[in-house]
Every structure is written in C-alpha cells, then in structure tokens.
C-alpha cells in the first residue's frame, strides 16, 4: 500500500516530480482548484477548437464528431442514425447528441448547440475523474487521491480527445462508475452499468469475469454475512460444494441483471432501427477487413490475408516466397486475446487488486487486438491512476521512466513509418511498419508483465 505522505509520484509521470511542495500541496488540498482547472483546461481547448474550425481549413473537430452529429440530425428528422455512413455506434449516442441537431438561426447559438456533444464528453471526463478520486480515497487521504486523479483530469491528451468530440470519454466515465459501484458493493448499479457499457462499446464485457471472480463471500461479506449451506469454510470442502459455493446471490444478481440490461437495450434498439442497428453496431466488427495500417501486430498479416481471400493475389504453390499454411493465424487471434483478458488475468489477480486487474485486462485486450489505434489507449488510461499508487513504476522511478520512454519511443517509431507510408507514399509495409508494430507489441507485453506482477502482489482492497 502506498504511503500517502510519500513524496514519490506526486503527479503524472509526464510531469516534473519535484516542484516546490507547498504549491502542489495547496493545489490538491481542496477539490475546487483541481476541478476548476480541469474544467478551464477543457473550456480553453473547446474555444480554441471553435476558433480553429472557423478560420482554418484544417479542422480541430474529430471526423467522428461529424458522424455523430450527422446521425443526430437524421434522428431529429425522424430517420435512423444508420442513415449516416460509418455510424457504428449505439443509437443512444445519437440521441444524446440531439441538441446538436437544433438550428435556431442565430449563428452564435447554433455554434454553441453544435458543441453540446463536446461539452457532454468533457463533463463526462470530469465525472470520471471525480469517480477516480472517490475510488482512490478508499485507501488514501483525499489530497493524495486528487493527485492521482489529476493524471486523468489534467491530462492534455484526455482533454483534447473529448473536446475534439470523440466519444471515448463516455466509456471512461462508464468504466470508472462500474468499478466504483462494484467496490461499493452496489450490485444492482454495477450490473446496470456493465450491461449498458457492453451495449455501448462491447469491450467492457471483459470486466465481467474479473468482477464476478472478485465478488466472493469474503469481498461481499461486509454487506451480507449469510453462511453457505455447508458450515465449513470453502477451502476445506469438496469440488462440488465449492462449485455450488461459487454461485452466490450477488453473482447471480450481477450476471442476470447485466445480461438482461444488455439484451433489453439491444431488443429496444432492434425494435426501433431493425437490422441496420445489428449490422453497424455489432456485425460490422465481425466482417470488417481491418487492412488500413494501425498499431496491431496482426495488421500486415490481415492485409495479406484479406487480399488472398478476395482472390486479389494469386497463390502460386510453386513459389517458395509464399506459405499458404501460415495465412490463417489472424483467424485465431481472439484466442490469446480472450484467454488473457477474460480468463487468466481475472483468475490470477482479480481477488487481490480489482482496479489493477481491470487495467491489465484492458491492456491485454488492446495489445492483442486485431485493430489498435491510439483512441484505444484511452480505454486503459482511465484505469491507470488507480493502479499507479501501488505500481512498481512509481516505486522504482527508473523502471517507470524506462517504461514510459519505451512506450513513447515504440509509438514514435511506428508513427514515423506510418508517416512515410501515408504521406510520402513509400512502401514501408515490410519490414518497417510490420517490425515497428511488433516492437510496440513487445514493449506492451513487457509492460503488461509488470502490471500483472504488481496486480498479483496486491493486497485485497
């Protein structure tokens, strides 16, 4: 457990760690300075974005935001959000952004209305940060908790993403709320949030096994102290009774309620928008050919395999340069990914440190995914402040700095190759881009190893 009075890790790893202690301490002493400055940071970015959009042909606003708001416009005219090409989200997102589709005729007011979604996403950031603080404050004084929450709240990358109009910030608040509800033993709320999150973005389903595994009688004991049918402790009984003992009321409640929430939401959306809802929100992820370059180690292989399966390149059996048998690796990609993120990591660490386990799960899911873009990094960034206080990265600053440097450098290497391809038109697919993505993958695996070891050595929180 971290010593709250320890000066180590006073702020985010990107910051100078030894400023005059007094200013830092005062800043985090009360909530207002942190939240006001977080809000001001986002407001500044938002206004700057409006200015850039108005005066520059290069836009600050994310293309996805135009997709959301177009979809909201279709909805406001009584249409389907899926009338907008490349809208691949739940209709709820378009509903949330309905105010952006309103036109008053006053340019100033319309611009403000159009920014409603960005304000919403930025507000979600702040709430997510506040939830982080609450979770952190369970094991440390509030000022220290705020210090760690600042990694999220004052992070310019997070503020940029939400004010550019990317909806990933909404996921942040959902995951933070889910974790907070679980740690507070509020099973119904957790189940509703879990079902909703999975409906919203699919990937949070990986948290279900970790939460279920964590929710043993001991963890939930504080609220309900009903003894099992057998009066002996679980560890001394047979396999069968242990299996029966695993099924607790809370676990059933979480499972059934979250599944019901997920199913109900999907049925409602299907009833309203029909097959396009299923196609674009879910089936798209099964059928898509993710050929365009991204960080995933599978990327080059997917490009090759998609061309082969479309008969776009001939497979010459006599050609030694081609090994058809190795072409199917990408079809088993989900195996290591799901085995790690849904089975092995929860099993190994969920009961010891749930937040760190969820971070490791997300990290594994993103690292081993068939597609990986930088917006996915936000998925684990929300959980980072909860893990850092007890992490080896802060306890051994040298390790922490090395990790950060490697993560940044590996990305820079890949981005440099990506730039050559995308903007200079150089054929760097092999070996450059492929090699860079494997290096980044390797760095991520090492980071994951450290996180897993830390999570596994954690004390029940």
């Amino acid at each position: 457990m971290a010593n709250p009075s320890s000066p180590a890790g006073a702020a985010s790893p990107a910051k100078d760690t030894s400023p005059p202690a007094s200013a830092i301490t005062t800043f985090f002493q009360r909530p207002a300075p942190l939240y006001v400055s977080s809000a001001l940071l986002r407001l500044t970015f938002l206004l700057y974005g409006l200015w850039q959009d108005a005066y520059s042909p290069v836009k600050y606003t994310d293309i996805d935001y135009l997709v959301f708001t177009d979809a909201a416009r279709f909805v406001s005219r009584g249409g389907s959000p899926y009338d907008r090409e490349t809208y691949r989200y739940t209709p709820i997102l378009a509903w949330l952004l309905l105010p952006t589709a309103q036109a008053t005729g006053y340019a100033f007011l319309d611009a403000a209305l159009f920014s409603f979604g960005k304000v919403l996403f930025a507000a979600a950031d702040l709430i997510a940060g506040w939830l982080l603080e609450r979770v952190l404050a369970r094991s440390m004084p509030e000022p220290a908790a705020r210090k760690y929450a600042a990694i999220w709240l004052l992070n310019p990358m997070v503020a940029t993403i939400s004010t550019r109009g990317s909806s990933e910030g909404l996921l942040g608040v959902l995951v933070a709320a889910l974790l907070s509800a679980v740690l507070a033993r509020r099973v119904t709320l957790a189940a509703l949030l879990l079902g909703f999150s999975v409906h919203f973005k699919i990937y949070p389903f990986i948290y279900a096994p970790a939460i279920v595994w964590w929710m043993d009688r001991e963890a939930m004991g504080s609220s309900r102290k009903q003894p099992p049918k057998g009066e002996k402790a679980p560890s001394q009984t047979s396999w069968i009774s242990r299996a029966v003992g695993f099924v607790t009321a809370e676990r059933l409640q979480l499972g059934i309620l979250s599944l019901a929430t997920f199913t109900a939401l999907n049925l409602i959306m299907y009833a309203i928008y029909g097959f396009p809802f299923l196609t674009h929100t879910y089936l798209h992820h099964v059928t898509r050919i993710d050929h365009r370059h991204n960080f995933s180690p599978y990327n080059t292989q997917l490009y090759l395999a998609s061309a082969v399966s479309a008969n776009a390149i001939a497979l010459d059996p006599s050609s030694s340069s081609f090994v058809p048998s190795s072409l199917r690796i990408e079809s088993t990609a989900f195996l290591p990914q799901l085995l790690l993120s849904c089975v092995l990591i929860p099993l190994a660490a969920a009961k010891r440190d749930l937040p760190a386990t969820m971070l490791a799960q997300t990290f594994a899911f993103v690292t081993f995914n068939k597609v990986c873009t930088s917006q996915y990094f936000l998925w684990y960034l929300i959980l980072l402040p909860l893990y850092l206080p007890r992490s080896s990265f802060l306890r051994q600053p040298k390790l922490g700095l090395t990790a950060l440097a490697l993560w940044v450098l590996a990305q820079a290497l890949w981005l440099q190759q990506g730039y050559e391809l995308e903007f200079l038109g150089r054929s760097v697919f092999l070996p450059g881009l492929w090699g860079a993505s494997l290096v980044f993958f390797g760095v991520n695996c090492w980071l994951l190893g450290v996180i897993i070891t830390d999570a596994g050595s954690g004390v029940k929180g």
């Binding site: 490349t86 998609s306 190795s326 070891t453």
Partner: protein
C-alpha cells in the same frame, strides 16, 4: 442503314466547290484541315440477334469511348468526356431484366477486357429524382484502345474478302471518340466516330443499300446568328444521287461550345495515400457570348474515378476547406462510396463526382492561369511484387456550365450529344463551355494522371504469417509466464488458487 460523313473546318476555311469531284457513288476533294465525324444509323432489324434482344428491353443505352490521346476538335463537335469507356444505361419499361442480365456480357464481347460482371455489382445507380433526363445506371472503365472492338466488329460485320470494310474499321484505331447510342423513342442505333482536327483527304464512297450523305462544312458566323446559336455553311452531297454538291447554310442552338481555354491535371508530390489532383486552367475568362443576357456561368470538373481512388464527400462539405482548394462545392457524387474498403473488396466500377470550381474573383486575374485542387484518397490495393502499383486517373471533363435563359430555344442540332453523365445533373438547356484538356508534360501518358501506390511487397511477405504468429506466441508466453508467477509463485498471500 444510313450513313452521314461530315468534315468540319474552322471559321473562314472554306473549300472551293469546283475542286470537289462527285462520280459513281464516290466523292473526292483535295486535303482539308478538318474534323471528321462518321455516323451510321441502323434500325433494330439490321442488328445482330444478341444486340436486338438487348435493345428490345432497353429504354436508353449510350456507350461512349474516348481516346486517352489529347485531340483537337472544332465547334460544334465539342462535347467532351474523361478518356475511357463510359456506359449509361436505362432499362426498359418492362422490368429490364433481360437487358440488365445481358449488358455486361455484350459489352465484354464487343470491347474485350471489360471488368463488368453484372449490372447490380458493377454499375452505379444515378439519381433519377434530380432531373428526369438522366440515365439510370453508369459504368466506366479505362480502355486505352479500340483494338478489341475493331477485331470483334470485323469478325461480325465484314465479309471474308471485304477489304474496304476491314480498312474502314481499322480507321477506328485513329479515332478520338466512338459513341454507340440507342434511344427506344427513336428506335434506331447510332454509331458515331470522331477523328480529331487534322489535315486529311476528303474521300468517301457509298455502299450498296446504304444511303450516304457527305457534308463538307465550316463554322460560320452570319449576321443573323443569335448568341446561343452556332452556324455552319458548306456543301452537302448524297452519294449516288446528287450529281454535284449543293451549297448549304444553317444555324442551331448548341449545348456544347468552346471555352477557348485549356487545362492540365497532375498529382502533387508527394502523393502518399491521399493524393491531390491539381487542375491547372489557362484562363478564368469566358467568351463574350457565354454570358449574354446575364446568364450565370460556373466552372466545373466532372471526374470518373476508378475504384482504386475516391473523393470523401464529407471532407468536401466544409466551405473553408473547399475554398482553400479553390473549390466551391461538391455537386454530385455516386452513392454509396465506401470510405474504408480495400480496392479488392469493392465490386462497383468506381465513382463519378461533379465539383464546382471557384475561379479567381478579381477581374484583373481572370485571364491568367489558375489552379484548383481535388483531394482524393487511395484505397489499399492488392499486394504485388516490388511493393508498388500504379493507378491511372483519367483527366476530368472541365467545363463552364451556363444556366439556360427562358427565351433561348434549344432544339437539338444535328450534332447534338446527350447523356454524357454530367449533363443529366444540370437543368435541361444548360450550355456547356468546354475547356480543352492538354497533357501535363512529357510523361507520354496522354490524358491520364498516374500515381504510384505503395502496396505490400509479396516477395517479402513469405515470413509475415509465421513471423506474426511467432511474435504473438512469444508475447503470450511471456505474459503467461508472469501470470504463472502470480498464480503459483506467492503462497504467502491469501492463497486463492494453489490447486493443480
């Protein structure tokens, strides 16, 4: 079967009638500088069986081929299209299923190397709600020569010993354009070939059973000519019927006219995966008669983009972005255009877009050269040997479109061309002032802009599958080892799982 052969010279170039010799169904005269247009008109029962069946179930079919070589032409034969093979098709009133099913196979037989599979897969639907005179389906592909068509036509049309027939068809290899048009309202098939403006002999003869009319004309500007009209004057002869040419002079409203400027197109370096096609236009000024009566005229570029490359309509919707490229608006795009799929996962031919350009506004700069940039996006192409592929994008058709005035009557002239793809996107009666395309340099590619596309190098790809598998396996093993350390290594903790 009827035939019309027309030579058209420039304004002021006349031919002395006394030098023209007409006898025994043939006409001869000294060389002239002219454009030559041959038009063959056939009734349905003069057509081969498979074509008759196809057209019997067709409302409109226009097959237009344009050479990739730059060519000069003369008013009124000015209607221009991007180089390549264009097909505009409207199925018959029935359900058009016969024609729809056969169209691609007939095209493939006639032109060889046609990538069209079926109407549904390869063609793109056109908006019919905009203006009723537009065709329903569109197809385009690059086709650099008519050799396939010439071979096929010789097999089907010429007798074994008919040297004249074969020579006539061989002449198509030098043609600038070929149009095969059928409109069910008229019930005839028109085949029209155009040879560019050049010095050539006047030499034509009639064939038995074919009424052949030969016109030797030049542009004319009589005093009575209205601003929206074109005049021609010259000699007309019906071979085997008229003993000597008869003088003629007529005027008509022309929908396609000469903007008296030129343009070239090229990709800006570096091209990357998002190349920009730059149009360099020699002048933003229009001939005086274009804006008579206060008509509004704007410049446009009509692009037919093969499926390897596309324009993003969402990117082209922001006024500031458009203005920075000297564009005014995206007026039309084929729908839908997949913004993500690789080339090999797209079945339609590609997409056509109509862009309104924004010329320099100050009067002083109107006669100087200006540019407009068209931002485009490449799809991923299939891996190939060497790591690069080349994509050729045909030159667009660049023209000024002037809104029709109510008092200008536009009865179609004898050289009228309709269904060009872009004309259906404008109000009926719009006049198009064409900017002539010019090759962008000594590249020798004619009216094509080429861009080198990076692709996966197949020669190096042998290890990708195994290498990826190995890397993932190693990463997984490392993480699993760390997990094992957590699961089995530390007993001093609560000791959850120590079984097995």
């Amino acid at each position: 079967m009827r035939e019309r052969i027309t030579y058209i010279q420039k304004l002021g170039d006349g031919l002395d009638p006394s030098t023209v010799r007409v006898d025994a169904g043939a006409i001869r005269a000294p060389d002239v500088h002219a454009v030559r247009e041959d038009r063959l008109t056939l009734t349905l029962d003069e057509l081969p069986e498979e074509l008759r069946t196809l057209l019997g179930d067709t409302q409109d079919l226009h097959i237009r081929w344009v050479s990739t070589d730059a060519y000069e032409t003369v008013s009124p034969l000015l209607a221009r299209l991007p180089p390549g093979l264009h097909v505009f098709f409207t199925p018959g009133d029935g359900n058009g299923s016969v024609a729809s099913g056969r169209l691609c196979s007939v095209l493939g037989e006639a032109f060889r190397d046609i990538a069209c599979t079926t109407l549904e897969e390869s063609f793109t639907p056109l908006p019919r709600d905009r203006f009723s005179h537009a065709a329903a389906y569109q197809y385009f592909q690059q086709l650099d020569s008519l050799q396939g068509f010439i071979g096929h036509a010789k097999d089907r049309l010429c007798g074994r010993a008919d040297k004249a027939c074969a020579a006539r068809l061989d002449g198509l290899s030098r043609a600038a354009s070929l149009d095969i048009s059928y409109e069910s309202q008229e019930g005839v098939l028109r085949v029209t070939a155009l040879w560019p403006y050049q010095r050539q002999p006047i030499d034509a003869s009639s064939r038995p059973g074919v009424r052949t009319e030969v016109g030797i004309l030049s542009a004319d500007k009589p005093k009575t000519l209205e601003p929206h009209e074109l005049g021609v004057a010259g000699l007309l002869t019906v071979l085997g019927q008229d003993p000597k040419p008869s003088a003629t002079m007529f005027s008509f409203a022309a929908r396609h006219r000469d903007a008296e400027s030129t343009f070239s197109a090229r990709f800006l370096a570096p091209t990357g995966l998002h190349p920009t096609l730059q149009l360099r236009i020699s002048s933003a000024a229009l001939p005086a008669e274009a804006e008579h009566g206060g008509q509004e005229c704007s410049p446009y570029a009509y692009l037919t983009l093969p499926r390897t490359i596309f324009a993003d309509k969402y990117q082209l919707s922001d006024p500031l972005f458009l203005a920075s490229k000297n564009l005014a608006a995206l007026r039309h795009t084929t729908q839908p255009v997949d913004l993500e799929a690789p080339e090999y996962a797209v079945s339609s031919w590609g997409s056509a877009i109509l862009l309104e350009l924004a010329p320099p506004s100050s009067p002083s700069s109107r006669s100087s050269e200006w540019t407009a940039e068209v931002p485009l996006h490449l799809r991923y192409l299939a891996p190939s040997s060497g790591g690069y592929s080349t994509v050729s994008v045909p030159y667009p058709a660049v023209f000024w479109a002037c809104q029709p005035l109510q008092d200008d009557e536009l009865t179609p002239g004898p050289f009228e061309k309709k269904a060009l793809g872009y004309d259906g996107l404008f109000e009926d009666g719009t006049v198009f002032w064409h900017v002539a395309p010019q090759p962008a340099g000594a590249g020798g590619q004619g009216l094509l802009s080429q861009v080198r596309v990076p692709v996966l190098d197949v020669d190096r790809a042998g290890w990708v599958g195994a290498g990826t598998g190995l890397a993932v396996a190693a990463g997984f093993a490392f993480v699993a080892w760390k997990l094992a350390g957590v699961l089995f290594g530390k007993k001093e903790e609560v000791g959850e799982k120590k079984t097995q």
